[in-house]
Symmetry: C2
Subunit: 615 residues, 2 copies
């Protein structure tokens, strides 16, 4: 059964996963207690090992030295999450963000010139988008790139301290070049944010003239990644430095773009970042799986307090301990299946040359939603695992402190979770592409108030939700769908009603409702992915086990949101109580299976060094 479960979890990219597991066996862990500079050294050396092993090219075109497997590049990243997370993030910066930006925003000659060097690590680079003053609101970056037709160059400039590029991976030490996002100006006209390739260091590693580089210094975790700050003092780069797939500047300074409208262009460019978000969700899940493997193994072997017969009780026999770990384990299964669907969709939408805007929009929304939900799940679950391992969980040797410290920023980078969920909600509210990415929320409330007329949707009658078996999957799906629709309906009504007032205030006063709409939407999608996975499970006994895991996931989700179901007449008080009983019962039933459920994640045991997890 172990193999069936593993195969199901490994999914479409099972071969690549197995190859990466073997590759992880060749990598070296950073020495315990290593300091920051040596950790950075170590990570760079391991990065070279990965490049030599062919790990770096998965997502790049075959003719530039890659495998041409766009979805696979996410899987390859995600699998690194079983090892040193600094290495995973550094790989993501180099090949996913820097290389990915050149690939997605650049064109033929730029690909020819740079991609192979990037894949083979002859050129290390940065993805310089975030500024000290603008993190979430990247549409309003202040760095400028002004075209000078006299010399045929762009002048890249940091006009004030808030425009300094900040938290940039690869910047403090290793990067030689940066993809710099800046407001493009030609002939006095602004064309919005564009990306340019700007060399930042000489071959000897010293900063190039006009470039100031600072080190972000010690972070909570991920200290093997050299995050830094970049400022530009009228730095000149040739016209060819502009990554010009979505915006081109002719020699005379004439601007042209295949995408009309600065706003739409901006979000088209940003859309190419969707892979980064999906990758972070995957990496967060890998770290969560590792933490759960450690905590469950500890819970099975650690004993405390005796039964009446004198035998001491494994702590995982305690209901409170099961409740800490098993619903989180079940939800990790759910999110893994949702992640697999998302990667597949990414692969199909961006891997080919499809230009289906509707699918892209949905993909972006799902990516934003799953990134937020998966990274919060990681933060909470790893915290729970730490506490569930008591004092042992606080020791570095048991790995949970590093997992916690390294993953803590996942809720922030590649899009702050709160901002991402608003993006999801706005997608739900409008379905209108031009408003999709309108991160600043303004105009949205007004738009909703004046234009959205609330489509009449075929609804499940509430009475159909009231009875029946809590374990009935059809009922569960209906319940999740109904919740999502009802929350969204309520939000639309609320925004319309308040639509007369100040648009900012209207939207802001409903922000809790907005986040909730997004959350319930993601919950439904995740559940559907779990159901689909059970349906494709080839083995009856495994499917039965997964049915229980899915029930635990669903019922724990309902229990956490009981107030809503009770308050909206979806559950009677008696039925609400039975949800809690069912969660308790499922915990007891799945407790003997917990070991095999974490085993199936396939975290390579050489990367689980925690003494408390050994047998």
């Amino acid at each position: 059964m172990d193999n069936v479960l593993r195969t199901l979890l490994d999914g479409r990219w099972a071969d690549l996963r197995e190859r990466t597991r073997k590759r992880l066996g060749v990598l070296e862990a950073p020495p315990p207690g290593v300091d920051r500079e040596r950790h950075r050294d170590h990570v760079l050396r391991q990065l070279r090992v990965l490049a030599s092993a062919g790990h770096s090219g998965v997502g790049f075109p075959v003719r530039h030295g890659g495998d041409g497997d766009f979805g696979g590049s996410v899987v390859a990243f995600e699998m690194l999450g079983f090892g040193d997370l600094s290495l995973m993030v550094k790989a993501g910066v180099q090949w996913g963000l820097f290389g990915g930006a050149v690939q997605a925003l650049g064109t033929g000659q730029q690909h020819e010139r740079y991609l192979r060097e990037i894949v083979e690590l002859d050129l290390l680079g940065c993805f310089a988008m975030t500024e000290s003053g603008h993190g979430s609101d990247v549409q309003h970056l202040n760095t400028t790139a002004t075209y000078d037709p006299d010399t045929g160059e762009f002048v890249v400039h940091t006009p004030d301290p808030s425009a300094r590029k900040d938290y940039i991976g690869n910047a403090a030490r290793d990067g030689r070049m940066a993809v710099v996002f800046a407001q493009l100006v030609t002939s006095g006209d602004r064309h919005g944010v564009h990306a340019l390739l700007v060399p930042i260091r000489e071959q000897d590693g010293s900063p190039r003239p006009g470039v100031t580089i600072e080190d972000c210094g010690e972070k909570a975790g991920l200290n093997g990644v050299d995050n830094g700050r970049l400022s530009f003092d009228h730095v000149r780069v040739p016209r060819e430095a502009l990554l010009d797939r979505y915006g081109h500047v002719a020699e005379d300074g004439t601007y042209s773009s295949p995408v009309e409208g600065a706003n739409k262009r901006f979000f088209t460019m940003l859309g190419t970042l969707v892979r980064g978000r999906i990758s972070v969700a995957g990496g967060a899940l890998s770290a969560t799986k590792k933490a759960l493997t450690i905590a469950i193994r500890h819970g099975e072997s650690r004993r405390q307090f005796a039964r009446p017969d004198g035998t001491e009780v494994p702590i995982l026999d305690y209901l409170a301990h099961q409740r800490r770990l098993l619903p989180a384990l079940a939800t990790t299964y759910a999110l893994t299946f949702a992640q697999e669907e998302l990667v597949t969709e990414l692969h199909e939408v961006f891997g080919g040359d499809s230009d289906n805007d509707q699918r892209k929009r949905e993909l972006e929304s799902h990516a934003a939603g799953l990134k937020a939900v998966a990274t919060w799940h990681a933060t909470r679950t790893i915290q729970e695992c730490r506490e569930a391992c008591g004092g042992a969980g606080y020791l570095a040797e048991n790995e949970l402190p590093q997992l916690k410290a390294d993953t803590d920023v996942f809720t922030t980078f590649e899009g702050d979770n709160t901002v991402l969920l608003q993006l999801v909600a706005k997608g739900l509210l409008t379905g209108y592409r031009d408003h999709l990415g309108d991160l600043d929320a303004l105009g949205m409330a007004r738009f909703v108030a004046t234009q959205l007329v609330g489509a009449v949707i075929e609804r499940t009658p509430v009475r159909a939700l009231l009875g029946g078996d809590l374990h009935d999957r059809t009922w569960q799906l209906k319940l999740f769908t109904d919740r999502e629709e009802h929350v969204l309906d309520g939000l639309v009504r609320r925004l319309r009603k308040a639509g007369e007032g100040d648009a900012f205030e209207v939207f802001n006063n409903a922000q809790d409702h907005v986040l909730r709409a997004a959350r319930t939407h993601v919950d439904r999608i995740v559940l559907e992915a779990f159901v689909a996975a059970i349906e494709r499970c080839p083995d009856a006994a495994t499917a039965e086990l997964l049915d229980q895991v899915c029930d635990l996931h669903v019922l724990a989700n309902i229990e956490a949101d009981l107030a809503w179901f009770l308050g909206h007449g979806r559950l009677t008080p008696a039925r609400a109580k039975s949800v809690t009983s069912a969660v308790n019962r499922l915990c007891a039933e799945l407790r003997p299976r917990a070991g095999e459920l974490v085993e199936a994640f396939g975290v390579p045991m050489e990367w689980i060094t925690a003494p408390i997890a050994q047998r």
Copy 2:
């Protein structure tokens, strides 16, 4: 108003708090990025500064060089929580645990010989209770202390690896002596756990013969504290090494004790540890206040996204951001007032020579409950603060990573929170002293099933809870009291009904209910403390502000538990919705006051070095 708030928060020990704030100004922070060994050095040097400044003696008797202010010793510890938390914990180990054990479990001659040396730091020591195999279940420690009447010595021995003393502060480097908890054996009879003073190192720092010392190595945080492991191979100590207030061994090996029954004796000794738990709650609150000060100041100055008029919005203007921080701020006020009451009660019960068992029992229960609730609050709030500060919150320079890493073990040490809440619940269930500390839960279910007849309690009729103003304090108090009583009633009924089965299973199957009973009990006590604080507030405008803060605390608590109130007919669905609206409204109303509310905590600004918190 600032001063009125500060004075109210500073409470009975305001002078000592002010003195300690000044003292913190003299202390030095560990250098950024300091490694473990140098951090330990640094902390030891700062500990000596504290001792010279008279900080160490607060809780010790005047005739041994102290101030005789038992409650004050908790305050002195807690105030160190604004500085380096490693120093706070090291001070707690040396003076609170090690010194406190000698003081509480020892007698005259032992006090004469050791207390002054401990206060003045001429003798550094450990509190060696926890073993690798027994952390929560300390009644079943395996270390033995066997009396040898031929030599008049005790033989202290570690019979197996699980009996190794673990996580012991001061053990890895600085401690010269340890209070070792061991099963006392004389003439072949076991008398339960007792404490002995065992020298562990020579003057030159090398381990004494028969003593093996290991280093716990790197931890998630608190790396300035030298936690280690101690094993004893038939180490002999004189008869006078037994701390003999609660158990005496005569020269011929005859055992005597003023407390009858090994069980009661054990819990009497353990009762002396109550100060440690209260101290941890206080330290957790100090760290929380520091984190909130940083996050609120950042939220006031950091701007992101623009209003329609083009001005960028301070992130604390966003409802979602307010919801992250302001209810947590309100609850920090509530817990601070509850902590003040608890310290006062400790001071009166243990500071004098009172021997009121009922008061002691209640104090122990309240200490256990508040420790659990305050430390979980700290863990959650500091996490929220980190995320609320985005990428900046992940940088070491902004202090939140260290606060998070240092406080993470607070939910574990001085009693695992889950175990502590069970202790509270058992106190509620029985009120019978002998069963109070019965941590192993066995017999409890049987006892409840067979003996507890469920006192008839005058209850608030449910209909009295249904209407009225959500901000009515009397209603709020009734609601909390009613919830506590109803949950406890339900638990008793559930245990009685199931009482026929296996006692372990019965209790275990109700564990979620048990924890809930404890939690609702603590919530009621905390609210009462808040109400009392408002009543003693001398200034009408300040009282009005505190009224709002209290409303936010209460309504956020109700909102988090809406499922219960709805499911038990305490709130109608419409009223439940109005709770959420009221929380939103209070967030908006208190947002302009957030700055002064954190200012009033009085965290010394020289200990807030985070660039994002500067003005």
